[in-house]
Symmetry: C2
């Protein structure tokens, strides 16, 4: 055997394409890659490793001889087809929210909790993008000084909502671009800005404090995901976390303003040193040089970038931290591939 | 006498123009308005109340017979010329940071602390934009249940950095618009995105976690202003406040994600009722209708808009609140004019 047979379900989506590109660029030990998508995309060609491969229709019979199935086709398709993949003998790494909070399913960020992979029963869940970049940073802090409470506000890119949201932002910007934009007034996009209370508010030149649907008690599903997934990944079921998730007119890479209260003191200098030494993190934090990470800088790169580490003196033992990462890469496709690589290292996936 | 003689120093800037327009639209009792600016703008015409008035050069002799001088020409000019205005008998309302933390100078948001105007000695300071919209909301909460701690992350529009920043965003967007923008890559603006650590980072399709200069301990001046001004306006010198200030690619109106811990419980429903009844606030908060305020909606309007009021269960007695307001209006020009109106009501400025 010269390699694994890898299926990518949802291969034509924004994350699916990123999965293909990351498998190739990391020389993942794949003998064959099978891109799967809906009937609509069947037969289309898609780029992989410098060539073209043909998209097959995702079905219950798609997984014969498949060793690894990366899913990013939405929760409904994961619920429908992932069990078939497992039945056919594949290990599934699922990027949807379908199985994340299932107590039987490991929810994994390799730098944080690779150990729980040992107990997998065929399906491993890839966490939400906004959660992944935060827990990579919280983990070393929690191990060193214990985390007491987290208050996070996010600045999330449109690519997290898929290619249609990217096209929507571009369309709004183009529409506004041809019309005068007044500083004192609103951007005169086609049709003018939607009023508050309308379902479809413009994202161009705006910030929308809603990602995913609203749940009871006024939280959005994205906010609830950040709270629950962070607790599960860090293994602290009652960790106090408050999240406010906001969509901003950025094409790619999420930023997060994170306030962390800790049990024991950790100076900004110690935190910088701790995080710089941690896996998957790059610290860019030099106010004198105006150095801090931003979304435009992080987009297209692998690390979780951290900057603006400073003491919050409004409470005992607290830090403010600015965290930026590419939500399609570490926030989705890269983390999924890293899970697969870790499975191989741990001999939990047939060695290549 | 049929009205006041009003000087506007810095009349050609973004806030100065807004001051002129607000004086006119509110029928401020001005018999004459004198626009003042630097030598560069001397003699230019500027719109006021449907007509045109001629800009005069700001000098020590500009204030003969002036009753009220609204300053928005930067801290250096306020320090240089405001004392001359006071000497000439004018009351100064200064929008710069020059006098805000001077213990002799009232720092005023009329809905919050109009009472301190009584002790003014000629100069009244207008707070920073990001502070004003927050304290309008914090005040009624503090009076009702006592505030224990505030953690705020801001989403600030470029108009807060003046007309040049507005032009810069528009220029970046236009440059990026003609080039392909990839979701997985960076916006290909002219010259490409600056790397982290360079002084001038692109604001288009990006979020910059820096507003104003860096101070010691890693805070920016904008963040320090939010902390110190909030304490002074609320009259709680040691109020625990943590601020992270971020510039976003929005033309006008600031948004804020505010986490408020209180001494006594306040349910989201009670908070909605309390804030809806408070002066200067409009509550837009109905998740079922996807109703919440946004910058595009708030721009050009007077109120401080509040939405997404929900319990934060990560600590005893806390709420998350989303606050949006037009930074050129309530955050600057409108608040300055409201201070002047309040001075008239309190008989602290010669009645019109």
């Amino acid at each position: 055997m010269s390699g694994l047979r890898v299926a990518v379900a949802g291969a034509t989506g924004a994350v699916g394409r990123e999965m293909l590109s990351i498998l190739a660029e990391r020389n993942f030990p794949a003998a064959e890659v099978v891109p799967l998508a809906s009937e609509r995309s069947e037969g289309k060609s898609i780029s992989y490793a410098g060539g073209e491969i043909r998209v097959k229709r995702l079905g219950h019979d798609s997984f014969e001889g498949v060793d690894l199935a990366l899913f990013s086709a939405g929760a409904a398709r994961s619920l429908e087809f992932a069990p078939s993949a497992v039945k056919a003998g594949a290990v599934v790494v699922d990027n949807s929210s379908a199985y994340r909070m299932d107590p039987e399913v490991p929810l994994v960020v390799p730098e944080v909790n690779a150990g729980v992979l040992a107990s997998h029963k065929g399906i491993i869940a890839n966490p939400n993008c906004s959660t992944i970049q935060m827990v990579v940073v919280l983990k070393p802090i929690h191990e060193r000084v214990g985390i007491r409470r987290v208050v996070v506000s996010t600045y999330q890119a449109v690519s997290g909502a898929g290619q249609s949201a990217v096209d929507e932002l571009r369309g709004h910007v183009e529409a506004a671009g041809s019309a005068p934009v007044s500083a004192a007034g609103s951007a005169s996009a086609s049709g003018g800005p939607s009023g508050a209370g309308e379902a479809a508010q413009l994202i161009a030149f705006n910030c929308l404090p809603q990602i995913d649907v609203f749940l009871d008690e006024g939280d959005t599903k994205e906010e609830r995901k950040m709270v629950n997934e962070t607790r599960k990944i860090l293994g602290v079921p009652d960790l106090p976390v408050s999240a406010t998730c906001v969509r901003v007119p950025v094409y790619n890479a999420h930023s997060e303003s994170v306030n962390v209260e800790t049990e024991r003191p950790l100076s900004p200098g110690e935190a910088r040193e701790l995080l710089a030494a941690a896996a998957g993190i790059e610290v860019i934090d030099d106010p004198a040089r105006l150095a801090y990470p931003t979304a435009l800088f992080a987009s297209g790169h692998d690390p979780v970038y951290v900057g603006r580490i400073r003491r919050d003196s409004s409470v005992t033992n607290a830090l403010n931290i600015w965290i930026v990462s590419d939500n399609l890469r570490k926030g989705a496709a890269l983390n999924a591939v890293q899970i697969a690589e870790t499975l191989i290292e741990m001999n939990l996936l047939r060695a290549a």
